[in-house]
């Protein structure tokens, strides 16, 4: 967690700042009183069960959903509809066959897509895009049609596209969903490396903390209209989450993974798969 240590000595700028942010739909309060500052280079995971308002929070940061109370600032400005300095990595959604783009074209849209007119990319820009294609490991399929990419390849291209804009903030909405373990690790490492080299803040929405456990600095856990913020070790504890959910919750650390189990019901279908875990796929193991 070097970024937190260095932060104490040289405070890095705040990229994203929420003050008293709240979101409600009619009677339903998703969350309220949310104060959060995300600094450059910091990796914050937003966790919580389905329907807790994780995606709504992302939409609020993107200015697509207005807060019911409080404020959100990006780079010290109130958020508006999208921003050139935000790189957004959505869930994997395979491209339609016949999408007229190759992988490199898709990545370059991140850098040039906002540009009106037909001015060609400068030599420096083209070189930077080429470098990015290499960095995200897309060289082997750089000229392949995007529709022919596998899920993992496509997410690499999406990371490249988001990075091409040299973002101050990477917003990731479940980017690992439906990827296999190997690609989950690959894409996570990629995002981690790039936030370090670029100094970009990462806000990463996920329902599963395990693939990013090694890289995450802080966790915002939302459940049942409430939330808690802290390091993974502080938040992912049975007492903390029991308090948050308002019912007993157990946090089980097994085979290098964290499983959160509610007392009133057995683990969900996905959680049952623990016996399939191959620890050798995950040599670093858990954070502790």
């Amino acid at each position: 967690m070097t970024s937190r240590e260095s932060e104490a000595v040289h405070p890095t700028p705040v990229v994203l700042r929420m003050r008293g942010a709240g979101m409600r739909f009619g009677d339903r309060q998703l969350w309220s009183g949310l104060d959060l500052e995300v600094r450059a280079g910091e990796f914050v995971a937003i966790l919580g069960p389905n329907g807790a308002g994780k995606t709504t929070l992302l939409k609020a940061i993107l200015g697509q959903q207005e807060l019911s109370e409080g404020s959100i600032e990006f780079l010290d400005q109130p958020v508006r509809r999208g921003h050139r300095k935000i790189g957004y990595i959505p869930q994997q959604r395979l491209m339609d066959a016949g999408t007229p783009l190759r992988t490199r074209d898709m990545i370059s849209l991140g850098a040039l897509g906002h540009r009106f007119g037909l001015r060609r990319a400068s030599r420096a820009e083209r070189r930077r895009i080429d470098d990015l294609v290499d960095e995200v490991g897309a060289s082997a399929f750089a000229t392949a049609p995007v529709a022919s990419l596998s899920g993992g390849e496509q997410q690499r291209a999406r990371v490249g596209q988001a990075l091409a804009a040299q973002p101050a903030l990477l917003l990731c909405d479940e980017p690992l969903i439906s990827l296999d373990l190997k690609h989950q690790r690959g894409v996570t490492e990629l995002i981690d490396q790039q936030r370090r080299s670029l100094g970009a803040a990462v806000v990463f929405v996920t329902h599963d903390v395990n693939p990013i456990l090694d890289v995450v600095d802080r966790v915002l856990y939302i459940a049942g209209g409430r939330f808690t913020i802290g390091t993974p070790d502080e938040v992912l504890q049975a007492p903390v989450l029991s308090e948050l959910y308002g019912t007993p919750v157990d946090v089980v650390r097994t085979l290098g993974r964290i499983v959160i189990v509610g007392s009133t019901q057995a683990a969900e279908a996905h959680g049952d798969g623990q016996h399939h875990t191959h620890p050798e796929h995950d040599p670093e193991g858990p954070v502790r």
Binding site: L47, P49, L62, Q64, R80, R81, G82, H83, R84, I86, G87, Y88, P90, M95, D96, G98, T99, P100, L101, R102, L109, L112, G113, H114, R115, F116, G117, L118, F141, A144, P145, V146, A147, S148, S150, A165, S178, D180, L181, K182, H207, D208, N210, V249, L255, R257, I258, V259, V261, S263, T264, A267, E268, A269, H270, G271, G273, H276, T277, H278
Partner: protein, 321 residues
């Protein structure tokens, strides 16, 4: 025997009627304006076509062209400029579809509601119209009547507006068409671009209706782009090929139709379809070869099962109590 001989003569007569090159040189001079308009229309259709496909709007094109037909018929009836009429009809339709139909399903039902209404309105106006009947039929299926000078001026101006607009918004429109969510997050004005695009589409349809008729607009605004996309996904080559195919279809269609005095649309649609067919065959073969050389064919069922077992294993962390 006599019967066979006479039917053969019939076929011969029909064929010579369909493909006739008598006085070809003189006729070409007469339709010079149509040729210019046709070539320009090919450029417009070829340029906008790839966007129509990536934005999933072929059905909208058909809907807009029926409203354009209504506008043109009403203009014919009340004796004003037909191009103006079809312009008003198609731009209105394009804006309605663009404003109300954000999602594909919603959009398709709006189009399905607008289309018969437009067609009915057009038929009513034509039924009331007392003038030359060739004018009526021409609006639906295209006309050979040579484009006159003021009309050519209109078509040129509208086409240029569309071409320049598309070139200016090319990159943001590409981003917004392929991935609206990601483009919006990057601050690209997705909604404004969508309206600008629908306006350009409305204008393109209005011009196309003049040449190929309301029923056959798709053959210029979609078929050439669909053909090009079978051959390549290179974002520069696709619009170039698509323009080439559209220009060949229109200009070729006008030239072939000259001798027979028939509408040009069957010629245009046939050429355009033939190009698509060839591209489809060539593209299918290329795709097979391409996936082999990439060495990343979809894994056989056995290995798919293996992959899914790994991915489903240790993912889920939490369960709400």
């Amino acid at each position: 025997m006599i019967l066979l001989a006479s039917s053969l003569t019939d076929v011969g007569q029909v064929l010579s009627h369909v493909l006739s090159f008598q006085n070809f040189g003189e006729l070409v001079v007469l339709v010079r304006n149509s040729l210019i308009a046709g070539a320009l229309l090919g450029i417009v259709g070829g340029l906008i076509g790839p966007f129509v496909i990536t934005r999933n709007l072929p059905f909208a094109v058909h809907g807009i062209s029926e409203l354009s037909f209504a506008g043109a018929s009403i203009a014919l009836l009340i004796g004003v400029n037909v191009v103006t009429g079809s312009l008003i009809g198609s731009v209105l339709a394009a804006l309605i579809i663009g404003m109300l139909g954000n999602r594909a399903r919603e959009r398709n039902s709006i189009i399905a509601v607008l289309m018969p209404f437009g067609l009915g309105l057009g038929i009513l106006a034509l039924a009331l119209y007392q003038g030359r009947s060739a004018n009526k039929f021409g609006l639906l299926t295209g006309q050979i009547v040579s484009v006159d000078n003021p009309q050519l001026g209109w078509l040129l101006a509208i086409s240029l507006v569309v071409i320049v607009t598309l070139l200016v918004v090319w990159r943001p429109l590409t981003f917004a068409s392929i991935d609206p969510d990601v483009a919006a997050a990057a601050g690209i004005p997705v909604r404004t671009l969508s309206i600008v695009f629908m306006l350009a589409l409305g204008l393109s349809v209005a011009v196309s209706v003049q040449i190929v008729g309301a029923l056959l607009v798709l053959s210029l605004l979609v078929t050439p782009a669909a053909a090009a996309l079978r051959l390549t996904v290179n974002p520069v080559v696709v619009p170039l090929l698509s323009m080439l195919f559209a220009v060949v279809s229109v200009v070729g269609g006008i030239l072939l139709a000259l001798g027979g005095g028939l509408p040009i649309s069957p010629y245009v649609t046939t050429i355009s379809f033939a190009i698509w067919l060839v591209c489809r065959l060539v593209g299918g073969r290329r795709e097979k070869r391409g996936s082999r050389t990439r060495g990343r064919l979809l894994p056989p069922t056995g290995s798919t099962r293996q992959v899914s077992a790994v991915s489903s294993a240790p993912t889920k962390t939490e369960v709400a109590p």
